[in-house]
């Protein structure tokens, strides 16, 4: 197991190096230089030359790449052009915000999808199953940004129950834990609703197949009650595809989080990236793309490991 993990991590290295190359190439095919944007109205050729020397932009591209790569390996992601702060600092500030909404919604959505999909499969083709299938299909096809807007209209504007954005209330002098949670509900809820739909569909079809298997009949025969049959015997097998998706869905969710953060003005990685792209803040753009690559590779690894834990037939070699 350990050997397998080490091998997988080693295998991931070329991919990650590739990600660094891509993010480096990406920002260098862009027309327009960051120097011009930084200087704005103060742009003169002399100032541009001085600044690009300061930023190391006058060296050949491949040297710039290796300098940057070396710095990354030392944990130095450079200095933001716009915020004038270390990029690592900015990312560490934004990361917990994104992590909390992504992790909470991913966990809640998985649990609920497993439950919903199982119940749907058990009562398949009943009215409940059909209604749930239609609702799932709608949410599955729903654009995340429209859903976010609708939630704001219902819960913030019409009902006045929840804040429409940000992370703490600015009017309150001492916003506490409860206030923070209230700000999380809508962003988490949006991500939750969108993810549940797709996963419940998988769970339903996977559980339908499991319920037809011999071992389910055996379990019934030996007198296990229906709850035990579904949620213990059948669940263990039908949950397998979902476990894989657990890790693989990380990057998709981070992408979805970008829209959610933008709508709810929620200061996470997505919003940081979006601001950075708009202001051509290259060090942040590059750092975040590399970071996303690492998360994806980690997600794949987690998927593999979880798969082995729930399915003892899998052997690590």
């Amino acid at each position: 197991m350990l050997k397998y993990m080490v091998r997988r991590v080693l295998e991931a290295i070329p991919t990650l190096l590739g990600v660094t190359v891509i993010s480096f190439i990406m920002i260098h095919i862009v027309p327009g230089s960051p120097v011009r944007i930084l200087l704005g109205n103060h742009y003169t050729l002399e100032r541009a030359a001085v600044l690009s020397k300061e930023l190391g932009l006058n060296k050949p591209l491949w040297i710039q790449y290796f300098i940057w790569l070396g710095n990354i390996l030392h944990g130095n992601f450079g200095f933001s052009y716009v915020y004038d702060k270390p990029v690592a600092h900015l990312i560490l500030q934004a990361l917990p915000h994104t992590l909390i909404i992504v992790v909470v919604s991913i966990l809640a959505a998985h649990l609920f999808a497993v439950f919903l999909g199982s119940v749907q499969a058990y009562y398949q083709d009943s009215i409940f199953d059909q209604i749930a299938t239609v609702i799932n299909y709608l949410f599955y096809s729903m654009p995340s940004f429209w859903l976010g807007v609708l939630l704001i209209i219902v819960f913030s504007i019409n009902l006045h129950w929840l804040p429409s954005g940000g992370i703490v209330s600015s009017q309150v002098s001492n916003p506490g834990f409860g206030d923070w949670v209230r700000h999380l509900i809508l962003p988490v809820g949006s991500l939750f609703l969108i993810s549940v739909a797709g996963w419940a569909r998988y769970m339903r079809s996977s559980m339908r197949e499991s319920l037809l298997q011999d071992y389910v009949r055996t379990a019934r025969m030996k007198g296990a009650n229906e709850f035990r049959v579904v949620f213990v015997h059948a669940l263990r097998n039908s949950i397998l595809p979902l476990i894989t998706m657990f890790g693989l869905s990380l990057p998709t969710l981070l992408g979805g989080a970008l829209f959610i953060e933008e709508i709810f003005n929620y200061p996470g990685m997505g919003l940081l990236y979006w601001d950075a792209v708009n202001s051509r803040d290259y060090p942040i753009i590059m750092a975040i793309t590399v970071f996303l690559g690492i998360v994806t590779v980690l997600g794949n690894l987690i998927a593999d490991i979880l798969y082995g834990i729930v399915d003892p037939r899998i052997q690590y070699r």
Binding site: V19, P31, V149, L292
Partner: protein, 295 residues
Amino acid sequence: MINQSLLIEEMEAQQVVNERPDFMRRFWKSGTTKLGTILLVFLILFSFVGPLIYRHSAIKAHLLYTDAPPSAQFPLGTDSLGHNILAQLMVGGQSSLEVGFAAAFLSMVFGVFYGMISGIIGGWIDTVMMRIVDIILAIPSIFILLFLNVAFQPNLIIMILVLASTAWLGVSRLVRAEVLAIKNQVYVEAAHALGARTWRIMNRYMLPNFLGTVLVAATLGIADAILAMAGLSFLGLGLPPPTPNWGGMLSDAMNYMFQNSWWMIYPPGLAILTSQVSINLIGDGLRNAIETRER
């Protein structure tokens, strides 16, 4: 031996031909597929024929009628600049559908080529080609699309290219897996032995085998492209004004959310939702029809 396998291949080809009407029947049998097709046809008629019947400008600003709720004059109301929302919705549908279909088609063609070449050549070239796919897939596509759209202010063509630039990846993986599965089948080897060129083998012996799978992926790709374009427009990175777009209409409406301008928020959202539901239903229908055949 060779003759025999050729015979088998001949029979298989015959079978495929015979199955075609059967396939269409299976596709049509499902009620959800019909619903999807009807919705999509409606959307196409609405966007392309609609403006010929409802002759009102989508880009004319009726400054006396800004923020107007639905009325006899403006069936779906107007936005904050006095644009006729119904007319905008129609014209916005045109670019959405054009871009969606074109990007999906382009990514399908490129993905099929890439995947086939990678699978057929094999060896280290295959490894490198697939590593490149892994690497680009490691970055969530919306982050790449966002960046490309800021970098190159998009027109219709650039938008199609940008969306296709990430959409082909999945197709190429799919195709490569299919190629690996049939590469060593007897009939492919037989064709080799008879001196068929690689090009011919790809076209005649391989492509028909996984055309269905690719078609499903491409169909769902249309929905993905429409959604991605709407998302980018929502973030303000769509086609340049005054071309209306569903995503852009929605993001404009968001600024007036607090005035309860519901007529600005529901139409574009429902339009995007309809496009997604209809195309997903068709894609699922195609997949079911194909899977039944293979069973």
